[in-house]
């Protein structure tokens, strides 16, 4: 395969893995953030501390844990996920979810503080309150998604362990950069590095434009 083809393949897989992980993390993290901001339940404080602490989860530890789970002799070995993009998505989802949940919780807490009496006076249920907060905070949640995407795109430890950095199968930009650097192939490593930076910049610009568009639509 020509070099350009390899690069395109690696970039596309990186985007597929990281964007999938961010979408999955958002589906879990945003409602979790809303629940932590609005809910009143036993163990809530412990859960908040756990979520916040999980933002700093070491990727290699997550990778190792998943490796043990998904390895042939592990409890989930039957799923045959090890060294597949699916395992990489799961690993990144575990790393990104606490970031999105924690950012979301902060956003929802601030908004809930403002809306609380008004919504209680309207006799809104807990679910109606959460739905209102998610709707009205959607533009602010872009920042949470961006932070999550930044973490996913730049992550290497977990995807290296559970993906295995297999050419044409699980090689993504970060793992390829590490491999090519160790091989002394600096041209490819630097090219991938620049593409990663450019991608990150483009995604940030798009998200910021989306945020301002949403803000206009949301009448902020």
């Amino acid at each position: 395969m020509p070099l350009e083809g390899q690069i395109v393949e690696i970039v596309l897989l990186s985007l597929k893995v990281s964007l999938s992980a961010v979408v999955l993390s958002a589906l879990v993290g945003i409602p979790l953030g809303a629940l932590l901001a609005v809910g009143r339940f036993r163990g809530q404080s412990v859960l908040i501390v756990l979520v916040n602490a999980s933002m700093g989860l070491p990727p290699v530890v997550v990778g190792l844990g998943l490796y043990l789970l998904f390895s042939r002799s592990g409890p989930l070995g039957v799923l045959q996920l090890l060294y597949t993009p699916a395992a990489m998505i799961i690993a990144q989802t575990i790393l990104v979810t606490p970031i999105i949940a924690s950012f979301s919780q902060q956003v929802f807490s601030d908004l809930h503080h403002e809306y609380d009496e008004m919504l209680r006076a309207m006799k809104a249920s807990r679910w109606q309150t959460m739905a209102t907060l998610i709707h009205d905070a959607r533009h602010s949640l872009i920042t949470a998604l961006l932070a999550g995407l930044g973490r996913a795109l730049s992550e290497i430890g977990a995807v290296m362990i559970v993906g295995g950095n297999i050419a044409h199968a699980t090689r993504v930009m970060t793992t390829a950069i590490a491999l090519e650097t160790s091989k002394g192939n600096l041209y490819l490593a630097v090219t991938l590095g620049l593409i990663l930076l450019a991608l990150s910049g483009v995604i940030n610009v798009v998200m910021i434009l989306l945020r301002s568009r949403l803000e206009r639509l949301a009448h902020v």
């Binding site: 403002e114 809306y115 009496e117 008004m118 919504l119 209680r120 006076a121 309207m122 006799k123 809104a124 109606q128 209102t132 009205d136 949301a218 009448h219 902020v220």
Partner: protein, 249 residues
């Protein structure tokens, strides 16, 4: 002797007083070692506008929040008469509007009240006309003037067709024209049968709107009388001082 002998035909028969809409009994509320409500008791007549008057820190807004159920009192209770529907609306001093259009704010309130989608469009149109907001229905709620925002907050509170409407200094930051528009809306709502409790610092507004006055000071009820009796001759020294602007908190 029968009643008809005592009150022969043609003479007005004294009516049995209507039961109060609600009774607040010995409401107490303490925070930070300060007694903010020190046994507040009153009965609210079923109809009309009751103004809660008193200096800053008297406990007016706190009393309103307790009536709304937003804050539980440390002791005491609020009892409603048996036929009360439970429908209460509230308008706050600073209107908190959703980051949506005027129409979407009303639609949201109707959805919270579980009004079916097919009925909402017509109800929104009616509320917009009542609050005189039809011209800005698609505008961002937060871009409205202060008066329009407060009328939207009132329209939103009316979504649940409240039997009791609580207004917490709704015109404190409005200009005279916006205040007049809000007062007209308040009178219209009262005329339709809703009981209104109004917290205000504006004595002229209380004179214009209120049927009866509850005067609070330092967490206690000092007077509860008809508005005319209160303003013509306040009984307590505190109420007199308040009306002449010399009451110190």
């Amino acid at each position: 002797m029968s009643d008809s002998n005592v009150f022969p035909l043609g003479h007005p028969r004294p009516r049995k007083p209507a039961p109060p809409l609600l009774t607040a009994e010995s409401l107490r509320y303490q925070r930070g070692g300060r007694e903010l409500l020190a046994g507040v008791s009153f009965e609210l007549p079923e109809k009309g506008i009751t103004a809660l008057l008193g200096p800053n820190g008297a406990g007016k807004s706190l009393t309103l929040r307790i009536l709304m159920g937003l804050i539980p009192p440390d002791s005491g209770q609020v009892g409603f008469h048996s036929g009360f529907s439970g429908r209460i609306g509230m308008v706050f001093q600073q209107p908190v509007l959703l980051r949506r259009s005027v129409r979407a704010n009303l639609d949201h309130a109707l959805r919270i009240a579980r009004i079916p989608r097919r009925d909402r469009t017509g109800m929104i149109a009616e509320l917009l006309v009542m609050a005189n907001l039809t011209h800005c229905a698609e505008n961002a709620a937060r871009s409205l003037s202060g008066g329009e925002q407060q009328r939207l907050a009132m329209a939103r509170a009316l979504v649940a067709d409240p039997e009791l409407l609580l207004l917490d200094e709704p015109t404190s930051s409005l200009d005279p024209a916006a205040t007049a528009a809000f007062e007209d809306l308040t009178l219209e709502v009262a005329a339709k049968g809703a009981k209104i409790v109004l917290v205000t610092h504006d004595l002229h507004q209380a004179r214009r709107l209120a049927d009866d006055i509850i005067f609070l000071h330092r967490g206690r009820v000092y007077e509860h009388r008809t508005a005319s009796a209160f303003f013509n001759a306040p009984e307590s020294a505190e109420a007199k001082a308040y009306c002449t602007g010399t009451l110190l908190t």
